[in-house]
């Protein structure tokens, strides 16, 4: 997608001038980004840059000090249970599956806001078709799953609310490289099924390889954005986040 086309199109999710503080510490200072329908967008950055805060602010888990977030034409509510009903769901950092519940029960929890929707049954099958491993472990306790399987379950559970935009907070956290590859392959498939994805990642290379566009976040500000191939080729980003590159400038500062 070229820049010109994107500016004309209406964004599905639009974050505008978002500010978040924890006490005196400013975590996000004026973040604006757009996610278009059908896209995968990644936000990359190092520890403490504000990636998780961005996700939590979109979900209403932390107070948004300033700025607004639009889903289509609708302003996102500040309370998380409403945000979920409006059509956004987050697979949280560290997975947070319900350990004493089985795989199927965890998925049911994801469908909770839908109440007695008759299509829920179909969606279990949909999630199982995306993650066949989960079907094999359907009645196993989530606490006994491997890290990768728990991540699949967390993503599946988030999908059960049938979100318009799926948010993913560090899906690669604590997983072996080969598992990360699997998970990212599945994310591609989920996207092909029509789910728009916004993910934040420390694993910049994997995230950029997967996504259409990327943003770089640094101490609460988005410093660079562009198509993922461009970011992957960018010498400064290579040096700062991808390793192996040799930038002339002083790496991270050069981006700002």
């Amino acid at each position: 997608m070229s820049d010109a086309v994107m500016n004309e199109k209406k964004a599905l999710l639009e974050v505008h001038d978002l500010h978040v503080s924890y006490g005196a510490i400013k975590a996000l200072s004026g973040v604006s980004l757009k996610v278009f329908e059908g896209e995968i967008v990644s936000v990359i950055g190092s520890n403490g840059a504000g990636k998780s805060t961005l996700m939590n602010a979109i979900m209403g888990m932390v107070r948004r000090e300033k700025g607004e977030i639009l889903l289509g034409d609708v302003k996102l509510d500040s309370r998380s249970f409403r945000v979920v009903q409006q059509g956004i769901s987050l697979s949280p950092e560290g997975r947070k599956v319900f350990a004493p519940l089985t795989v199927l029960e965890n998925l049911k929890m994801g469908a909770f806001p839908r109440g007695n929707d008759s299509k829920v049954e179909e969606d279990y099958e949909w999630v199982f078709s995306l993650f066949p491993r989960l079907k094999e472990r359907i009645s196993q306790y989530a606490g006994t799953l491997s890290g990768g399987e728990q991540q699949m379950l967390a993503i599946g559970r988030a999908l059960m609310s049938r979100p318009k935009v799926l948010l993913l907070d560090e899906p690669s956290l604590g997983l072996a490289p080969i598992i990360i590859k699997d998970i990212f392959k599945e994310l591609r498939r989920i996207n092909n099924e029509g789910v728009t994805i916004l993910l934040v990642e420390q694993n910049a290379r994997q995230a950029l390889l997967l996504s259409n566009r990327g943003y770089v976040i640094q101490t609460g500000r988005l410093v660079t954005e562009g198509p993922s191939e461009e970011l992957l080729a960018n010498a400064d980003i290579k040096a700062a986040y991808l390793g192996g590159g040799h930038a002339k400038g002083k790496t991270t500062q050069a981006l700002a």
């Binding site: 979900m59 249970f81 769901s89 987050l90 947070k96 319900f98 929890m109 994801g110 806001p113 609310s161």
Partner: protein, 283 residues
């Protein structure tokens, strides 16, 4: 049945109603409270004042006792339960003491620290058992309802359940309100049983006892808290003849159970699931 045995059963029903209330909040919603005696006190005084001074029939008076407790729970719960963690436990200590002090010093209404005598002994055996049975049926249905499951989800992972679309703040406040209703009704029944209430009956010791019974019976087991109440009430009654050692035995029983079974008598399972499937899964 002798009057004594009748008295024990009435007391058991009253304690079990209060314990069920605390169990919903602590065992199922994961909020610790050290001030639930305040809700009992409010129920007891409301019902006593209404029946003695205003000639209200005891039945609506008991229910109104519960309603007043619910109103207090709402005003305390809305500001404190938005916060996660043990803030409510700390706030509830203050609440318990504040209510007790108000009752002691608001002489014109509560007759102060000397207590409130002359309550019509309306809590007969059928009344106490009737209230217990109806409230127990309601509670057992509640914990298996959509709301009950939502409570457990909030308890198990507050963040995950918020992210899955549960209105966690509301669930916590409603859980506290229902819990307060049970304690308010229990307090009103206690007043009608003893014919006399006194602020000191509803001190922090009473509050901790309520929470202790619930932990003792098993957090997350409604039948456990009733069983726990039965054990504690019976132990204290059986050893009444050696009254000076009573509290010693009470303490010893608590310690022994907590050492041998840290998850409480029932763990987090219900009696029925235990009978059906002794080696089955946790609920």
């Amino acid at each position: 049945m002798s009057g004594y045995a009748e008295g024990i059963i009435i007391l058991l029903c009253i304690n079990a109603i209060a314990a069920m209330g605390v169990s919903l909040l602590t065992g199922f919603t994961g909020i610790f409270s050290l001030g639930h005696a305040a809700y009992m006190a409010l129920g007891a005084y409301t019902s006593a004042i209404l029946t003695v001074q205003h000639g209200v029939h005891f039945f609506p008076a008991i229910l109104l006792g519960g309603v007043v407790a619910v109103a207090l729970a709402y005003f305390i719960g809305v500001p404190t339960l938005r916060l996660m963690g043990d803030y409510y436990a700390i706030a509830s200590i203050g609440l318990g003491e504040a209510i007790r002090l108000i009752l002691e010093n608001w002489q014109s209404v509560t007759r102060g620290a000397r207590g409130y005598p002359g309550i019509d002994p309306y809590t007969s055996l059928p009344i106490a058992v009737g209230f217990f049975v109806i409230l127990a049926i309601f509670m057992f249905n509640l914990i298996n309802s959509r709301f009950g499951r939502a409570c457990k989800a909030c308890r198990d992972d507050y963040i995950a359940s918020s992210l899955l679309g549960f209105n966690t703040a509301r669930i916590r406040v409603v859980s506290l309100m229902i819990s307060a209703f049970y304690c308010g009704v229990a307090g009103a029944l206690l007043g009608g049983f003893l014919s006399f209430i006194q602020p000191v009956m509803f001190d922090m010791l009473k509050s901790t006892e309520l929470t202790a019974v619930v932990v003792f019976g098993g957090l997350g087991s409604m039948s456990g808290c009733i069983l726990g109440t039965a054990v504690i009430t019976l132990v204290t009654e059986l050893f009444r003849p050696i009254s000076q050692y009573r509290m010693l035995i009470y303490g010893a029983v608590l310690v022994i159970i907590m050492v041998l079974r840290p998850e409480g008598i029932m763990g987090n399972r219900e009696l029925l699931s235990w009978i059906k499937d002794p080696f089955g899964r946790r609920s």
